[in-house]
Amino acid sequence: MSPLTASILWALLLLIAWRWRPPQAATLSAWVLIIAFGALGACALWFDYFVHPEPQAFTFWKPTVVYWTLTAIMSIVPPLGGGYPAKIILGNYFALSNREWRWINRGFALLCAVLGGVNLVAASEASYKDWEGFKFSCMVLLLTIVLFRLNFVWLPILAEVSIHLYRRATAAYRYLSRLFSS
């Protein structure tokens, strides 16, 4: 799939997301994350389309940029009364108190700060292979979050969509049966 096709599909999905957006007002955390990741996404598209090859310094800094951006968001937004970004990133399927979410948010911010720093150290000091290894081990962290999300959010959604489709199919079958039997 070409980058252009992928971008168009992505834009379409975002359009669907906009159309199906929840009626409730988004929290400050949500807005900040949307704006920050929108900017990061636009930047990613810019580099994919127009900058070949990537400057080496940018490649080294990339993971640090995203980790420290997250650290910044998770550190700045809660004191402003905008909720806890960690709640949006991890998913609010666990019924935890605000106090508990505060500590999770802090821990997550600290972890991202450390990962961003370690990335710089690994990029400059370690071998290229070790740096690659570090980056992939960080992705395991993301995978854990994805698995939680898959189990607690995506599967229930999939079940609900399947049931909806099943009902539609059953209704269509009954309708067609009546149509052909009469």
């Binding site: 997301a17 990741f37 996404g41 990613a44 990133i89 108190s97 229930p156």
Partner: protein, 431 residues
């Protein structure tokens, strides 16, 4: 132009026993089988002609001629039937050779009136039999079994065996209950002056010792096939080697494999690895019949009951005077002093129907139940006692928050699209 039915190909010579011959005209009936096509014979309405396909090689035709010639001259004596039923044909036995331009092309046999008969296959399903105008009960079925066994016994006495004995090859007279056996030209003949093999077999009715092998003892094969047919007739079409396996990995999918391994679950002693089909009524059969079935299916080939034994036992049940068949409270015929198989079957079917309806109701309610569960999961509004207890006790750090404003599935999908977009952007930056 010569009309189709008057073409020279349709003029044939019938050669009766004693070499008496006559010229006849054949007319196509539109019925054909694997070996030949059936024609009616003008001026001889009580006969039909079987003409072998034109593709049959001369060598094969020569063998057929040899066999049919012998059969025409050696018609076996069959069980006697009352004078008023003399028109019933118990065996579609070749009665005359048919020659065309002096070359053998087929044979003539007595016509079986299909209007008065139905295939034995239909009797394996009571509803199907009823649709064909045959109201099956145990009295009639046992009579049919007895008549079939009697005809086969007469053949065996002349050292003739059917080999490919199966319900499709047998017709039953609906009112008189006599049977007609078709495809006689495929029989095995082993007399002192003549011998001809029958290579055609049907695996579902083939004895275990002949599975994947040539049939070396045709009478033993007939005994096995007859026992299988009788079992199926009396047990609502259930094949004696249909069962429920405890280990599905080693249970053959096809009946032939189960026959070969002797996986017969209806014996008086239960089989170790196969259970009976729940709808089976074999336990309502009398002991002598069950012993015969056990010997036919669960014992080695040499102890299999002969057709003669079947005739002897079935003659008792087929005779009204024996008193071995009597009506139950509901008026169904059953084996005397045994539970009524018809009532047993009805109870089993009714139980199965109740279970089926309950299952269907559960299945129909399942989507709604699941939807409710999923919605509660999405909205975090589970009201299970476990969660309620957690919320009240405050024992752990997990507790229920005030339920958030309900969101629909579409809203949830929209949020997940945004989340996945963020994830992909994060991955691009982190890699």
């Amino acid at each position: 132009m010569i009309p189709a039915e008057r073409k020279p190909d349709h003029i044939a010579q019938l050669v009766w026993p004693g070499q008496r011959s006559e010229l006849v005209t054949l007319a196509a009936t539109g019925k054909s089988g694997g070996a030949g096509e059936i024609f009616s014979i003008e001026g001889r309405p009580e006969f039909v002609a079987k003409i072998y396909h034109a593709t049959t090689s001369q060598a094969v035709l020569a063998k057929y001629r040899h066999k049919i010639q012998w059969m025409v001259e050696h018609k076996p004596a069959l069980p006697e039937i009352p004078a008023e039923y003399q028109d019933i044909v118990q065996l579609a036995w070749p009665e005359a050779l048919i020659l065309r331009r002096s070359r053998f092309v087929g044979f003539a046999m007595r016509k079986i009136t299909f209007d008065r008969t139905l295939e034995l296959d239909y009797l394996l399903n009571r509803r199907q039999a009823a649709q064909e105008g045959f109201d099956a009960d145990y009295g009639k079925l046992l009579t049919v079994c007895f008549n079939l066994a009697s005809v086969i016994n007469c053949l065996h006495e002349r050292r003739i065996a059917i080999v490919d004995l199966k319900p499709m090859n047998v017709k039953v007279h609906k009112a008189e209950l006599y049977v007609s056996i078709l495809d006689c030209d495929g029989f095995h003949i082993d007399t002192e002056e003549f011998r001809h093999d029958a290579p055609q077999v049907t695996p579902e009715y083939l004895a275990p010792e002949f599975q994947d092998k040539a049939v070396t003892h045709p009478e033993a094969q007939d005994s096995f096939a007859l026992a299988t047919i009788i079992f199926r007739l009396l047990n609502y079409g259930i094949h004696p080697f249909t069962g429920v396996a405890s280990d599905h990995n080693t249970y053959p999918l096809e009946l032939a494999g189960r026959i070969k391994q002797g996986l017969y679950p209806y014996g008086k002693v239960a089989h170790e690895s196969v259970r009976k089909v729940p709808a089976s009524v074999h336990e309502a059969f009398p002991d002598d019949l069950r012993q015969l079935f056990d010997r036919a299916f669960a014992a080695p080939g040499y102890s299999r009951p002969s057709v003669r034994e079947w005739v002897d036992v079935l003659s008792i049940y087929a005779s009204k005077r024996s008193g071995q068949i009597s009506p139950c409270e509901k008026g169904h015929l059953r084996f005397s002093d045994r539970p009524c198989p018809t009532c047993l079957r009805e109870a089993l079917i009714k139980g199965a129907e109740v279970r089926r309806r309950s299952f269907v109701a559960r299945m129909q309610a399942a989507p709604a139940r699941t939807l409710k569960y999923v919605r509660r999961t999405l909205r975090q509004t589970h009201s299970s006692p476990f969660q309620a207890a957690l919320a009240q006790a405050q024992l752990f750090t997990f507790r229920q928050l005030a339920p958030p404003a309900p969101i629909t599935t579409r809203n949830a999908i929209a949020l997940e699209i945004l989340w996945i977009s963020g994830l992909l952007i994060g991955l691009w930056w982190a890699r």
